[in-house]
């Protein structure tokens, strides 16, 4: 009996100690983790917009996120957008609920710190506090708007779609006219040497400069990538076998309206990325237009 008591005490103490250690480490690292992740995404986005160490981003460049949720309000499906608004110079979020057909339903101001809005959990708490308890809530996607001063620079769309093996996660950058600015592959598990080549500049940069109308009709062709095009896409410095700026421009113009050249031996991955990009752009442009209509009608003071 005494032994059992001792064992229990011992186990409890060690569990408590372990829990304290893990808990404190978690508390310390969690912030750092989030910060790092945020910085990472930020860097990628800046990179997509063409900013890097040599060409730092302007001070007045800001990113605003729109979060889209689907609501199940006792049988009726609703879309809910968390839209950043300016309220007396302060950044806040407001929730706009619309029907699938695009008609305005209701709107709520949200009590959420814009910094904390990065956190899915925080957002959910804020949403729950304004919605009816019975409403079903599920996060759909988000879009990021890059704004410089008053001018919209770009839309950044995190998106994921099934590839050859598992999901491919990308960020697609569109300009205000929905022309592709750039594509960055964030995560994938494609085969090395085949599907994994989607991260290579010669593939992902093919999407650059495709106008929205061209993008809609974009196809994947199974022809060898012309060498000059490849050189242009890889964009090495002129002293490393790259091209001069003028040449680059001419080549870009020449191939601007080309279809996507598939990666040799990885047609499935090429197709997956292409159709994923097309879908993301198409859906986003449609939704943005709907949302903007509602915003205009409601006279929301959005920050973008």
């Amino acid at each position: 009996m005494k032994e059992i008591f001792r064992i229990t005490i011992g186990l409890t103490i060690s569990c408590l100690v372990a829990a304290v250690i893990m808990g404190s480490v978690f508390a310390i690292t969690d912030k750092a983790k989030k910060h790092n992740e945020h910085v990472n995404v930020q860097d990628t986005m800046l990179g997509l917009l063409g900013f890097n160490k040599d060409k730092p981003a302007p001070r007045d460049l800001r990113f605003f996120s729109i979060y889209r949720y689907t609501l199940d309000d006792s049988g009726a499906t609703r879309l809910a957008y968390m839209v950043p608004v300016l309220d007396g110079g302060k950044e806040k979020y407001e929730l706009v609920v619309i029907t699938p057909a695009g008609e305005f339903v209701e709107r709520f101001p949200l009590k959420i710190n814009p910094e904390a809005a990065n956190e899915g959990h925080e957002r959910e708490l804020a949403l729950r506090s304004v919605l009816r308890p019975s409403t079903g809530l599920s996060f759909a996607d988000s879009a990021i708007l890059a704004v410089k001063g008053k001018e919209r620079l770009a839309y950044l769309l995190p998106s994921e779609f099934p590839g050859f093996k598992t999901f491919i996660k990308v960020i697609l950058a569109l300009d205000p006219m929905f022309t592709v600015i750039g594509l960055e592959i964030m995560e994938h598990e494609e085969d090395p040497g085949l599907g994994a080549e989607i991260v290579q500049p010669y593939f992902k940069h093919q999407f650059r400069g495709k106008s929205f109308d061209r993008l809609r009709e974009l196809k994947v062709i199974k022809e060898p990538l012309p060498d000059e095009y490849k050189t242009a896409l890889e964009k090495k410095a002129p002293d490393k076998g790259g091209l001069s700026k003028a040449d680059l421009e001419t080549l870009r113009d020449k191939y601007r309206d080309e279809d996507i050249y598939a990666i040799t031996g990885a047609t499935i991955s090429s197709n997956a990325v292409t159709s994923g990009v097309i879908n993301a752009a198409k859906k986003f442009s449609y939704r943005l237009k709907t949302l903007e209509k509602v915003i205009a009608a409601q006279r929301l003071a959005v920050s973008f």
Partner: protein, 322 residues
């Protein structure tokens, strides 16, 4: 009767497809094959020398492996690709495991799987359009990129049957061409006719039995017919059987003594397993052709199958047999 005799007979049976491939894909296929055979033989000799074993190139098994390895390589690859494949086939898949008789996996196919993993692009896209005018030097001097094409199974998998007929001609023409050997594909796998003739000769000599090839071809045909089309029972079993490496695999690779079971029932199961896996990979998998991996996947089952299907004992004593 001797191992040498069997192996060299297999070599002879394998030669007609090679000769044909010179006329279909050009003279460089001969060169690739020679490189493959030579490097297999050389690897065998060097390995056996290093391991202080008697050198047995003369028994022809390395030559057979070399030939088969070359036969499952596309005709437009660089010549050093088969050299690497040969090292993998003979050194790793054969001699490390204890030499002939213990190579659990078919060495030539391990070589091919290794090459597909190492040179995915070359091994899956260096196909050539068949030559029809005997200009066998057409592809010899390079310029291969411009003429590379797709295999029928690739087209079928990614674009459907309609595209196959659009590219290769009417159904009847396809049957004729493919059966005779005028289809894009690996060096030695295109001609169903010559492979069948070789197989029949081996069958006549009693070196192989019908069980494995027939059960593979039957299973593939049946399953393709059932599941291969848009709707059930609309697949094309004939095309499935005469295109790709199925014939070569079924007749010359799956029947390899070491890597297949010995008893008739076990052979039928083994063949059916290969057939099912082939169709599974062809229809649902990531590759247009599945016979190579299907055989490799069934090979390790051969020891178990042999254990399960022993010959019927004359009259075993009571309790001696499980």
């Amino acid at each position: 009767m001797s191992v040498e005799r069997i192996m060299w007979t297999v070599v002879v049976c394998l030669l007609p497809p090679l000769i044909l491939s010179v006329f279909v894909f050009g003279i460089q296929t001969l060169f690739i094959t020679l490189v493959s055979v030579a490097s297999c033989a050389a690897t065998e000799a060097v390995t056996q020398k290093l391991l202080h074993r008697p050198i047995t190139i003369r028994d022809g098994s390395a030559v057979v492996t070399g030939l088969l390895l070359a036969y499952v390589i596309p005709p437009a690859v660089s010549f050093w690709i088969p050299i690497l494949g040969a090292v993998m086939s003979i050194y790793i898949a054969k001699h490390l495991l204890g030499g002939i008789g213990f190579n659990i996996f078919n060495p030539a196919l391990i070589g091919r799987a290794f090459l597909v993993a190492t040179f995915p692009v070359a091994m899956t896209s260096a196909w050539l359009v068949p030559i029809r005018d005997f200009s066998i030097f057409k592809y010899a001097g390079g310029g291969i990129d411009a003429v590379s094409t797709a295999t029928p199974l690739y087209v079928l998998k990614h674009y459907g049957m309609a595209e196959v007929t659009a590219r290769f001609g009417s159904t009847l023409k396809i049957y004729g061409d493919f059966f005779l050997g005028w289809q894009p594909g690996c060096i030695g796998e295109t001609s169903a006719l010559l492979l069948i003739l070789g197989g029949l000769f081996l069958l006549y000599k009693g070196y192989i039995t019908w069980h494995i090839p027939v059960s593979i071809l039957f299973t593939v045909g049946l399953l393709t017919w059932v599941f291969g089309g848009d709707k059930p029972f609309t697949g094309d079993p004939i095309l499935a059987v005469i295109s790709g490496g199925l014939m070569l695999g079924a007749i010359f690779m799956a029947t390899d003594y070491v890597t297949s079971p010995t008893q008739p029932t076990a052979k039928l199961i083994f063949g059916a397993g290969i057939g099912i896996l082939t169709v599974l990979i062809r229809l649902k998998g990531g590759y247009p052709e599945g016979i190579c991996y299907a055989i490799l996947l069934m090979n390790p089952l051969a020891p178990a199958l042999e254990g399960w299907f022993r010959p019927k004992r004359f009259a075993p004593p009571k309790g001696a047999v499980k």
